[in-house]
Symmetry: D3
Subunit: 136 residues, 6 copies
Amino acid sequence: MIYITRRETFNAAHRLFKPEWDDAKNLQVFGKCSNPNWHGHNYVLYVTLKGELDPTTGFLVNLKDLSKLIKEKVTDKLDHKNINLEVDFMQGRIPSTENLAIGIWEQLQQPVSELGAALHCVKIAETENNFAEYYG
Amino acid sequence: MIYITRRETFNAAHRLFKPEWDDAKNLQVFGKCSNPNWHGHNYVLYVTLKGELDPTTGFLVNLKDLSKLIKEKVTDKLDHKNINLEVDFMQGRIPSTENLAIGIWEQLQQPVSELGAALHCVKIAETENNFAEYYG
Amino acid sequence: MIYITRRETFNAAHRLFKPEWDDAKNLQVFGKCSNPNWHGHNYVLYVTLKGELDPTTGFLVNLKDLSKLIKEKVTDKLDHKNINLEVDFMQGRIPSTENLAIGIWEQLQQPVSELGAALHCVKIAETENNFAEYYG
Amino acid sequence: MIYITRRETFNAAHRLFKPEWDDAKNLQVFGKCSNPNWHGHNYVLYVTLKGELDPTTGFLVNLKDLSKLIKEKVTDKLDHKNINLEVDFMQGRIPSTENLAIGIWEQLQQPVSELGAALHCVKIAETENNFAEYYG
Amino acid sequence: MIYITRRETFNAAHRLFKPEWDDAKNLQVFGKCSNPNWHGHNYVLYVTLKGELDPTTGFLVNLKDLSKLIKEKVTDKLDHKNINLEVDFMQGRIPSTENLAIGIWEQLQQPVSELGAALHCVKIAETENNFAEYYG
Amino acid sequence: MIYITRRETFNAAHRLFKPEWDDAKNLQVFGKCSNPNWHGHNYVLYVTLKGELDPTTGFLVNLKDLSKLIKEKVTDKLDHKNINLEVDFMQGRIPSTENLAIGIWEQLQQPVSELGAALHCVKIAETENNFAEYYG
């Protein structure tokens, strides 16, 4: 069993906001992260796969294929976007770092398996101080 | 002459957008950075001061005073904000990294001189790949 | 199950030193890390929690609450201190990176559970080249 | 059970290349990584050990001993070398990041056990975006 | 006057080697950097431009144009290549970090001026510990 | 004219403290940095040289010679030491980051000139947020 990780980045706007709550309640729970005019981050995404080494190539999977897949399924949908308004797989979810990790996992699990490996972990850093990890 | 630098960070939303242009023209010039629904960044700010060392303290200025000043004049106004809509000193300016550096310089030049040093450089990184520097 | 991590920093002095041994023996085992006049580090601390996502907020726990807790229980006690002489929870322990990880774990395990999550890992970097991790 | 990690670096040349294939087939599978004139990387290696803390020293193992061991068994053999041509433990293997992690594991497993700990993980970063991990 | 910097990366093989000298002399002067079987690095390149801000766009130059230019003139020629054997603008030069900075400067000076700015600095990091800068 | 930089690190203890002042006054001016029991840092030092390229080698100076010189004159004196008590060239000086940069400059200026280059800048980072630079 071998593990490989690909790092990708995207820049996006978001707002922590629960539609069922009024602004005062959102502000109380989410603080400045609930600013109605949005704020944003340079997100750093780490996608880890596990599986058996292919003895023909010495690869688990070709990292170029993985990078292309992450761009197609995840970062092209998120980069320079508003996560609350424009990202299909985040609709109906508060765009916390935790929910982003889960949403990205759901985007990648099936396509990664078609590359011949299993998705092991989606890790996402919102800032240099805050990370979330999801293992399914 | 000695130089000291304080690093601070802030997270904000913005859009590269010229009101005199329609969306098609903005998109042509600014690309995805002009997304009408905004995007955002973890900005990293480096403020460099120069001057004579104070022989009593071994400091140019106390970096705690500098940090407090940057927070008050700059990062409290930018952090978790929309630069286009909510930041007083950026009104009427396209929020490019270059204009941010100039805007921040203007906020800091006079207050820094009251600390007993001269503002030497404002450097701002929008991503790990893009920086702007302004020396006045 | 979701995992979140908060990064915090502190700067402290220490000395690897066993009181039962004389200076020659301490020097033999610990080398320059046993300098009687102390040395110090910029420590980087990563605290990882695990648990079920709160569907109301999209959070495992609010990272601001976690940051506040780490400051209160750990970094306020360590920052700009002498670990051998001034840190209550490190008394009687050689302040190796390993023992720091264990000591910080003991400080956080109970309070973290009151936030509604389980402490998963305490990771501490003494330098850019040396880390310790403790999982309880 | 405690975990410690030592970070080491080395700079080397390599080529992803399967001798049984002709250049066209190698190029098709490995792309520019198969350039016959070689290319190279600044590799970053993380070696993680696990075991019981030695109560006498507060160490799992002395990180200086671990660093010396990694240099002797691994990085002195790789640093400023051509991995395909000059590294004994990589002969007969395509020098992918995955195979490097496995090869380094095999070099370290027995010697690390003589230090009084178990090898837990070999992680190697080929670039800031690509990592492999091996746990045996 | 405003300064902007674009960071780009490339991975390449090289050898410090003076054809007029025999291997013994090369080894004596360049040490392990003269290994006849090559070694390599993940180079990090910083290209800094200076000039007057364009008031229409808030840009000195569009960093996408600069990035495209650097790729075309510099990094596409260097990435996954052997600097001694395959890079036209480095022929006849020992591929030290200093000479790389000068060679890249010569590639960029004229094309950058056509973007409407002046090339200010080419900085290149060979490792995390070694940099060269050239200002023309 | 070419510029080269070597990065080195050292870990040390210090205390911002003016012997002419009592503890209350020291605490008022220097805050927690004046803790009588010391604290410490992982310092990062950048030494930049300038001069004419040696056409024979493609070097300004051999970075191995520079690294050896910095170790001998600077970091061997500082690493794992107490800057206030044990570092000869810092005696009689408050060990602020500014004074460290000046003290290190004075240690290196003459020896660097014997390598055939001029010392251009000593930059020292006390933390990831605080730097000082001295250009003589």
